[in-house]
Amino acid sequence: MRDKEGLLVGLEIHQQLAIPTKLFCACPPVKTDEFPYHFERRLRPSQSETGRLDPAAVFEYAKGRSNRYYWSPESACLVEADEEPPHPMSGAGLEAALLVGTVLGSQLVDEVHVMRKIVIDGSNTGGFQRTAVVGLGGSFEVNGGRVGVQSVTLEEDAARILGEDSESRHFALDRLGVALVEVSLDPVRGAPEHVGEVALHLGRLLRSTGRVARGLGTIRQDLNVSLAGGKVVEVKGVQKLNLLPRVVEYERKRQSMLIGVAEKLREKGIRKVSCRHRDVTSLLGASSSGVVRRAVSEGGVVHCIAADGLAGLLGWEPEPGVRLGKELAEVARANSLGGVIHSDEFERQGLTGAEAAALAGAMGADHECALILVAGRSEAVSRVVPLVEARAAEAPSGVPPETRAATDSGETRYMRPRPGSQRMYPETDIQDIEVGDEVRRRLEREAPLPWTESVERLQRAFTLSRDLALKVYDSETTGEFEALAARLGLEPSFIASVLVDLPARLEREGVPESAVGLGPLTASLEAVAAGKVAKEALPEVLKASAEKGVTVDQAIRSLGLGVVTEEYVSRVVREVVGRQTKLVAERGEDAFSPLMGEAMKELRGKADGSMVARLLRRELGLARSGEGSTGQNGG
């Protein structure tokens, strides 16, 4: 089905670079929580030479909202406040981006030209983002297939949104200007899962350079998704890799629904959806519908849009969770207005049959005509009604080109129209930068091993499973792992699983992953190596250490887990066997497992399991043959 639908997905990965400053000023790229200063700005669309304005820019400006920016000298300066020209581009940032280009086999440009890309949703104080192409083309392999690279771009990150209300959007300036490398890939065909694999692979490739930042929020994926016969939809801000396939799948079914609506209209011979609207507040003043009542009680208004030909299509849901009606509501919500309901859901929304009939009468609507109610503050309703009408009128053309945002649940929601091509012009405050041959040669020398080779080397050198080797590579503790394996003389696979599996396991048990850092993990491994505690006790020890905020050694002591002598273990084992002579007599060797369980109940964390098993086998041998404790077979 997907092939028939012609699903194409272009992936753009934005990865923060690990450099000490922002891209165009000396501020450190750190997160700030307290902002002593703020200011307020309005952005307006700038006009192009042809007299045209960018549709996305006009959309944002029409919202009439101002932007409030909060900042601290800890993480921002006048450059971020758009009160000082940018400083020269960070050399470290440029080199890191060029190295990424080198690793991807891109053609590095000979002269880097910084551009201003108009973005007036307020996330950039200047109203544009500074961005520069550093490499063109290139490719890498994923599972034997080749994925093409379109471009490698060095750009500054946007301000962090803190919240929004009907008057303004609120942004923090700490993230504004942080250096990102963006890798845009050729569109790939095929299953949504494949997109996830491509992203995972590319993420590893970027990390292999050692020049990219780690941790949550340092990598972000944008998607360009299209189906045959539809337009390209841009989905912004997929934070987690595992959401990628879900977002792609959601877009596929959403766009497929929109194409379906267009087909249905075509079948009916409807080429154009015309709309008209009027104020119906007085007509619905007494309605018991929640949406209407809320608007009216707050002194707002209700307008009704009649959209010819859309009856039955607003609530049509060919696959779960995708309906044209939802799209209209999202357009309103992008303009801070929540009250939109349509005739396919009148009953569910508490409108009576009589009210629906009165509306139809007032609007002169026939049975092919859908009704859409827009309720809220008068000013917002007047602003939103034409936008909802415009979106309804787009139904016959299928998928409109839009910019959408990915949600945490793997869906997407409408943000704004797609920007036009007329929104990029040179950043005249920054001089062009020549990339000399010397730099190229040096970067080629510095290019790291492909990550696949690094993983294979881990597998071979430490006899790890591929899965474990990959986990070590992904957790970016390869260096620490290798050092510990060399130093502690423990089984490498045990060290690896403690480093990469244990934190996740503890998180499932309610211990935050951040509380189990490399420090405690190393200390606990050292304790095992020194014979201070048994392997089996590590989860308990680390949990106690994190929860009580004490060192690993203190946790071992407080849990009474100090390792005991072989003599003590022998005694416990002997006691267990002594208590269960009947079981031993009945089941012989098969009594080993239940007895081992019982012994470990007393000895878990105090003694190594293999020692307990050895002593138990010896004891059982004794118990069975009566040879006494001088017997030699340790099993």
Partner: protein
């Protein structure tokens, strides 16, 4: 041959051989493969070794000649045709405001194809960029000249003053002058003297962030300036710029007491030693200082300036020879910016004395910016008074320079000139100094 502005050397030859012009879509074969894009102009100081293409994605990239084999024109570029927006609504009964352009691009369009920025020159263009204006006034833009503000001369001040004075007879309710910010303070002072007593407001306005960017401070400054020019209750010459970092308030500074005190911030301009003349906010004019001259009355412009004045800043170890050099260059008056209350070294003091003896005029201001000079407190000051250096109270150095040019321009000399320098013509001297 087509336009290949900015290209030289090998790059120029390659492009010329291919018959390419700026704006053409060309294909360039490189060692790596083919790159296609629109040819964009090269900057004045760019080398001759790179060709700059704008890719379909909108990005510009520079490609080095060493890897370039061949350039081929795929399609000739079309000049972007600007479809002028509809003319402003015919607004009846609105005040009339003359907007004089001097070269600062307070409202401009961007050519996304080449990156060029061009100013709005007609009322229709201005209206399409700042539509609020046509609701405030019937504006008539006029481009008087196009110079960077650092290239402004007394001749430009004269032309500006004459045009603004003419606007009174043409029944304009006010004049707005768009101006680069670097020398905005000097021009404001010049017009304050030349147009002293003008019955309408004359507002100089600039922007610290260029008008091609969405965050420009130009539109709000312009809206505030046009509002005051149209309906302000007071007359005279003022500078309108942002009051703070936010796009919410615009400050109006008296033309002789304003100074640019920051290189880049929106609120770079300050009123020195006097309160703000007015503040424009969300609800219009929110504050107007007491004692501003009302509209109306008769006046006679005195738009002439004599540029033969030097402004020297005294510094430790300053050689007296600099004063001699100024005299030899034909300067008729020197404004010396002294330290503290108005002091210079003994050497410079004697040279100034010689200059005065030879018929020159010497005036003292302070490099402290804030406060008043006083040559009676220390011996150094008394020596300066003795040799004929005239203290200028709390007049700003830049204003003093411009005023001296204006005084000479009126034809005054000797004691007449000194008298005019000491009198308060346009608010340049205050009688009392206040805290802050």
């Amino acid at each position: 041959m087509g336009d290949l502005s900015g290209y030289k050397g090998g790059a120029l030859r390659l492009l010329r051989d291919a018959g390419a012009s700026i704006g053409d879509v060309i294909e360039i074969r490189t060692d790596f493969g083919t790159v296609t894009g629109t040819l964009v102009p090269r900057y004045l100081y760019g080398d001759g070794e790179h060709v700059v293409l704008k890719l379909k994605s909108g990005y510009n990239v520079g490609l080095g000649l060493s890897g370039l084999a061949k350039a081929k024109v795929l399609s000739k570029g079309e000049k972007p045709s600007f479809s002028p927006p509809a003319s402003p609504r015919a607004a009846k009964g609105l005040p009339r405001v003359l907007i004089l352009g001097t070269g600062g691009t307070i409202a401009s369009r961007v050519d996304y194809r080449t990156g060029a920025v061009s100013p709005a020159v007609t009322a229709a263009e201005l209206d399409s960029l700042v539509p609020e204006l046509s609701e405030i006034a019937k504006v008539q833009p006029e481009l008087l000249f196009e110079v960077f503000s650092e290239n402004m001369t007394p001749q430009h001040w004269t032309r500006l003053a004459k045009r603004a004075a003419k606007a009174v007879g043409e029944k304009f309710d006010g004049v707005v002058i768009t101006h680069g910010t670097d020398t905005l303070g000097y021009s404001a002072a010049a017009l304050s003297f030349a147009l002293a007593g003008i019955p309408i407001p004359v507002i100089l306005v600039g922007s610290q962030r260029s008008s091609d960017r969405p965050s420009s401070d130009a539109p709000l400054n312009l809206v505030a300036a046009v509002t005051v020019a149209a309906e302000g209750s007071f007359s005279g010459v003022y500078v309108a710029m942002h009051l703070g970092e936010s796009d919410d308030k615009v400050a109006f500074h008296g033309g002789t007491r304003v100074r640019k005190n920051h290189t880049s911030r929106r609120d770079a301009f300050s009123s020195i030693g006097v309160p703000l003349a007015a503040v424009f906010g969300r609800s219009g004019l929110e504050h107007v200082a007491e004692g501003l001259p009302a509209r109306g009355g008769s006046f006679k412009p005195r738009p002439k300036f004599d540029g033969r004045v030097a402004l020297l800043k005294f510094y430790p170890s300053m050689p007296g020879g600099l004063v001699r050099a100024a005299r030899r260059s034909g300067v008729k008056a020197i404004v010396i910016e002294g330290t503290g209350l108005g002091h210079v070294s003994r050497e410079v003091s004697s040279e100034l004395g010689r200059f005065v003896k030879a018929g020159g005029l010497a005036f003292m201001t302070s490099q402290c910016i804030n406060g008043r000079v006083d040559l009676s407190v220390y011996d150094t000051g008394r020596d300066l008074l003795h040799v004929g250096v005239q203290p200028l109270e709390d007049m700003l150095s830049e204003t003093a320079l411009v005023k001296a040019m204006w005084v000479l321009g009126t034809g005054a000399s000797g004691s007449k000139a000194r008298e005019l320098m000491a009198s308060n013509v346009a608010g340049e001297i205050t009688a009392r100094t206040f805290p802050g």
